[in-house]
């Protein structure tokens, strides 16, 4: 049994080695505690983005995306439609898992739905999991690293200019997603760049069309 734990420990050590190393803050920052960057939604919010899809650096097509996310319950819904208004995909995610409301071929696969919901969670909701390390990267970015319960790692880092980046790695430390939030202090989600390293690499540039905080109205008692 000890051998198994040793092997597992070595395995995790090697896995993490593929991710950038996190260092202790430099002497100028010594003594100051590292605050984890947190650009994520604080209230239930509806966001509508124009989405430009790029492959190999070239724009390929454009879509409209709607996201309704509640950071408290961690429930969210999303829809993706063409400029012409055709809804290609609509789904919600909550405690019972992912529920696909509408998915036209070829968006009607479980893998697509799962990936899409994972990406939305990565972009908009505070990552869950055990905070395993916080410090700085070699370039000076402030970073917090979490290990997700279901496997995989998430880094949330803030550059010296305040820009936020979120990275998702596989359990083995392979970079899968990078999210750059190019927004401002008022709205971190004004411009989102998601880079996906997948079977087909692609980039989504999401430009905010509108957003609103959603306040649920409690039912009136009669």
């Amino acid at each position: 049994m000890k051998g198994l734990f040793f092997l597992l420990g070595m395995f995790l050590l090697v896995s993490c080695a593929a991710m950038p190393a996190i260092h202790e803050p430099s002497s100028e920052r010594a003594g100051k505690s590292i605050t984890c960057p947190s650009p994520f939604l604080l209230e239930k919010t509806r966001l509508i983005h124009a989405i430009e899809v790029r492959m190999a650096g070239k724009p390929k097509t454009a879509l409209i995306g709607v996201t309704l996310a509640d950071p408290v319950s961690r429930m969210f819904s999303c829809a993706m439609m063409s400029t012409e208004g055709m809804v290609l995909f609509e789904a919600s995610s909550g405690p019972d898992g992912v529920k696909v409301l509408r998915a036209l071929p070829p968006f009607d696969t479980n893998v697509f739905a799962s990936n899409m919901m994972d990406d939305i969670e990565l972009i908009f909701l505070t990552p869950v999991g055990v905070l395993t390390r916080k410090g700085v990267f070699a370039e000076g970015e402030r970073v917090c690293r979490r290990h997700k319960e279901q496997g995989g790692w998430v880094d949330v880092l803030a550059g010296r200019d305040g820009r936020i980046q979120v990275r998702r790695y596989s359990e083995f430390g392979v970079l899968q997603r990078t999210v750059n939030l190019e927004g401002n202090a008022q709205n971190a989600y004004a411009v989102i760049e998601l880079q996906a390293i997948d079977f087909v690499n692609y980039t989504l540039i999401m430009t905010l069309i509108e957003s609103e905080v959603v306040r649920d109205i409690p039912p009136v008692k009669r």
Binding site: R46, I48, A50, E52, V53, M55, K58, P59, K60, T61, A62, I64, V66, L68, S77, C78, A79, M80, M81, S82, T83, E84, G85, M86, V87, L88, F89, E90, R102, L104, P105, P106, F107, V111, F112, N115, M116, D119, L194, A196, D198, F199, V200, Y202, L204, I209, E212, V214
Partner: protein
């Protein structure tokens, strides 16, 4: 989100939704519409598109301009909230999206889908509403002429329930198109300030800018 490579297939569904013309149910009325539409050689109009969905608190409004020249030249241009242009002329169709301040060609095969879509839209502009067996067409006269297209194929249930096209009785032009996808989702396109039979520069159907 590994969905992008599949845009072409999704486009085919869009084609099925919007293109397939209607069964000839009321032959005389449809024949009259075709006859009236012959008088239309060009149309230019603004349009407002409203998307209704449960996830939206209010409709998502898109705006743009529509140009048609008989028999089948179309420019379908969205200016808000997302700029895009589809041009169909002399059998060639191209779709453009805005990127980095300029219009670039959509390379996902969406243009070929839109070619099919616009082919049918051109058919509507020419008064041909009843030439496809995949939809049942019903025509109802009122202040405007209302044509309801209902898919015959039950597999379309959940994708589109019906398409309603409102035709002006005055000049036989299309006033609005309503695509009902489900009980909680629909798209309505209203054509405004339509100008009929006024010359349109051919470059409108050739140049994207």
């Amino acid at each position: 989100m590994t969905w992008f490579p599949y845009m072409k297939k999704a486009g085919m569904v869009l084609f099925v939704l919007l293109i397939l013309p209607a069964v000839n149910v009321q032959a005389d009325d449809f024949a009259r519409l075709r006859k009236d539409s012959v008088r239309i050689s060009t149309i230019s109009a603004n349009f407002v598109q409203k998307k209704f969905m449960k996830i939206l608190s209010k409709p998502l409004v898109s705006e743009g301009k529509f140009y048609f020249a008989a028999p089948d030249s179309i420019r379908w241009e969205y200016s808000k909230p997302l700029k895009s242009v589809v041009i169909s002329d002399k059998g060639r169709t191209k779709r453009y999206i805005a990127s980095g301040g300029k219009m670039v060609e959509d390379e996902t095969g969406g243009a070929q889908v839109m070619k099919l879509v616009l082919g049918d839209v051109a058919g509507w502009m020419n008064g041909r509403f009843d030439s496809n067996p995949s939809f049942t067409a019903v025509l109802k006269e009122g202040p405007s002429t209302l044509i309801t297209l209902t898919p015959v194929d039950k597999r379309m249930a959940g994708i589109v329930e019906k398409i309603e096209i409102t035709i002006s009785r005055k000049d036989a032009s299309v006033k609005s198109v309503r695509i009902v996808e489900s009980a909680t989702a629909e798209t309505r396109i209203d054509f405004l300030n339509a100008v009929i039979n006024k010359g349109i520069n051919p470059s409108v159907f050739q140049d994207v800018e």
